[in-house]
């Protein structure tokens, strides 16, 4: 199946060839998870990925992906206050 992934903030340095917000298209086996996708795109670096959206919804690494999913990844980021 085909999914797209975009990298934000400091994760962009892993793919400096991509413009800001440019999606990367990935071919994955059926029933691949979000963690599988991250492994395929970033290699063994999953610790750095903190926030994962699939089609705008927050998901965890075990989430099974579907054809056409739009994935966006962030390192730990925050704002406002606490």
């Amino acid at each position: 199946m085909e999914v797209t992934v975009r990298l934000f903030a400091s994760l962009r340095r892993h793919r400096p060839d991509l413009a800001l917000g440019q999606p990367l298209t990935c071919q994955l086996p059926e029933r691949a998870t979000l963690a599988d996708l991250i492994q395929a795109v970033l290699g063994p670096l999953p610790d750095e990925v903190a926030i994962m959206l699939v089609n705008g919804q927050l998901q965890a690494g075990e989430q099974v992906l579907s054809e056409g999913d739009r994935v966006s990844l962030w390192p730990p980021v925050a704002g406002g206050a606490l």
């Binding site: 800001l20 089609n55 730990p76 925050a78 406002g80």
Partner: protein, 610 residues
């Protein structure tokens, strides 16, 4: 008794008589209200009728520091500006970092209380124990940066300056107080109070330092906090690299990024206005406040073209207020609007939100183009910047309306429903239609729809202290009340910047507070202190005439999100407001019960003003 952490003194400045005197304050108050926001609010409550005119000569304004301000504890840079808010009529407490707060402590004062009104423009020069009143005739009309430079030339190049810009001079209700050239205690219109007193600036220079009760224990605790901050991926990672604007794409992608005056929650033009774009295109370098390793402030420049300029920011809230909220995706125009607000000394969040409101009024035909002088449509970057100039200069009747914020603007044209805020304060860049915690917080926050006094997005998105889905209602009342609103009230009272809280907790803060002051600050007490401060602010607002009916949200927030990943979601405030009141120990009208006041030791405080 040896006084540590605090200086134990306040400076009372009578602008009418041009007199200043140093007074001790009752240190017994420290364990009740901590300092900064808590203690300054208590002083205001005790000294001013909450129902009085915010811009009247009898109104007071207080500059306050916390016990940790200036100690060298990590990020302990903050001072507060406390007064009755001219924009909202609630209690105001705006805070800012930089170097001004620590300098006030070094001069020997925890607080400076300003009262009365000067006949002519004046500035106050606090040089340790000496206080002078000097003419500000030649400073009137200058930007904060130019004022800072001129005042330091006339006093001491080492002085630290807090002042107002032309916005505050004109008593615009969006005016803030600007310190260290470009840092704003921005919200609630506090700058208009200085303008109403003809007070252009306060310069301070102190040769002292802050005494520590147990220096060894203090520095061990401060070092521990420092280590936690430099090892934290947010504080020492994303804040340094991208500032808060790394949130733009995230909140937009999840469909919670208010767009075009909250008509929508996704902005197609967000990417070029994001933190990543600011870093790629505008960033010159980072800047830090006193004793802060985080250095989140971003010095930026637009090097050429019609929007040329230089300053600090924009950050998340202002790249949003002039960006998505106005439908503008031109980053240089957004930066220019931000720089202009700094030059006028205006709250850039409310300024952008007011322009957005004006755009909707214009597009719906509620404001004739002849009132504005040009077409003010969503997405028109040039018109957005032109509107900010009108507002800053208070030019013409429309400029004057803009300068007093979106509540009065929308009401003036007969469409108060287009005001997107609470208690006359504009909301921030986290949609309450998506984040149910923010819905309850905006509705109940003591200074109106402000995000920094209970930013539940930390739990509802980043999972700090623990993840709670944004859409759930269960347990949100307690989450808003305790770990966010009460906790923030405590931290704001210590002098520590809230941004440190992504890496450290109350435990680290009290382990610095206790050895700094020699007082018995503990984690358990900090919980009660935060609650007490929140309730004190509530009492001020009740006395000022606010009621449960004001704890609400704009009608639009109760309607479903029209599209994007969160389509259909809406604020469900009315389901949890009464539970929140009950948890707070308030009756169904939102008034603290006698039992609650007794529990917090506030019954006398309430009586004083009855």
């Amino acid at each position: 008794m040896n006084i540590s952490g605090y200086t134990g003194a306040l400076l009372r400045i009578d602008l009418s008589r041009r007199q200043a005197r140093r007074e001790p304050w009752d240190l017994g108050l420290a364990e009740r209200f901590v300092g900064g926001r808590g203690l300054a609010s208590y002083l205001l409550y005790r000294e001013q009728d909450p129902a009085a005119d915010a811009l009247g000569a009898e109104s007071k304004f207080i500059l306050g520091t916390g016990p940790l301000t200036g100690t060298g504890a990590v990020a302990a840079s903050r001072y507060v500006v406390v007064c009755k808010a001219p924009l909202t009529g609630t209690i105001a407490c705006s805070n800012s970092g930089g170097f001004f707060g620590p300098e006030l402590k070094f001069a020997g004062y925890d607080f400076a209380i300003f009262e009365g009104r000067s006949e002519t423009p004046v500035y106050v020069w606090i040089d340790d124990g000496r206080v002078e009143f000097r003419s500000a005739e030649k400073l009137w009309g200058l930007t904060p940066a130019a004022t800072d430079e001129q005042v330091r030339r006339e006093t001491s190049l080492m002085a630290k300056v807090a002042c107002i810009g032309p916005g505050g001079e004109k008593r615009s209700l969006l005016a803030g107080v600007v310190n260290d050239r470009a840092r704003l205690a921005a919200r609630s219109g506090v700058g208009a109070v200085l303008g109403s007193k003809n007070l252009k600036a306060v310069a301070v220079r102190g040769a002292g330092s802050v005494c520590l009760a147990d220096p060894e224990a203090f520095w061990l605790a401060a070092l521990d906090a420092l280590k936690k901050i430099v090892n934290d991926p947010v504080s020492f990672g994303s804040f340094r690299a991208y500032g808060t604007a790394s949130l733009v794409n995230l909140i937009n992608e999840m469909g919670a990024y208010p767009t075009r005056n909250f008509l929508e929650e996704v902005f197609a033009g967000a990417m070029p206005t994001s933190g990543e774009a600011i870093r790629d295109e505008l960033l010159l370098r980072n800047r830090a406040c006193f004793a802060c390793p985080i250095a989140c402030t971003r010095v930026t420049a637009v090097k050429d073209g019609p929007y040329q300029g230089r300053g600090e920011g924009p950050e998340y809230e202002t790249t949003w207020s002039f960006g998505a909220l106005c439908g503008v995706s031109d980053l240089k125009a957004i930066a220019k609007a931000h720089y202009l607000c700094c030059d006028y000394g205006l709250d850039a969040m409310s300024a952008g939100a007011t322009v957005a409101c004006a755009m909707e009024l214009f597009e719906k035909g509620y404001v004739p183009g002849s009132d504005i002088g040009f077409a003010l449509r969503f997405g028109d970057a040039e018109a957005m910047v032109a509107a900010v100039r009108l507002m800053g200069e208070r030019r013409g009747p429309f400029g004057a309306l803009l300068a007093d914020g979106s509540y009065r603007l929308a009401a003036h044209y007969g469409h108060p429903e287009l005001f997107m805020g609470v208690k006359k304060l504009e909301m921030a860049a986290y949609s309450p239609r998506v984040f149910q915690g923010m819905a309850l917080h905006y509705a109940t926050s003591n200074r109106g729809a402000c995000h920094v006094r209970g930013n539940t997005v930390a739990a509802e998105l980043y999972g700090i202290p623990k993840y709670v889905p944004p859409e759930t209602l269960d347990g949100k009342e307690e989450m808003v009340r305790r770990p966010f609103q009460n906790s923030t009230a405590f931290v704001d009272s210590t002098g520590i910047c809230l941004f440190s809280k992504f890496a450290i907790t109350h435990r680290e803060i009290v382990s610095m507070l206790a050895p700094a002051t020699g007082l018995d600050f503990t984690f358990d007490k900090s919980i009660v202190q935060g609650d007490r401060i929140w309730n004190l602010e509530r009492l001020f607002n009740l006395r000022a005439g606010f009621a449960a009916a004001d704890d609400t949200l704009p009608e639009r927030m109760l309607e479903p999100v029209p599209g994007g990943p969160r389509a259909g979601s809406r604020a469900q405030l009315h389901q949890n407001l009464q539970t929140y009141y009950a948890l707070r120990g308030w009756d169904e009208r939102g008034v603290p019960t006698r039992q609650k006041l007794e529990e917090l030791g506030l019954e006398d405080t309430w009586q004083v003003c009855r």
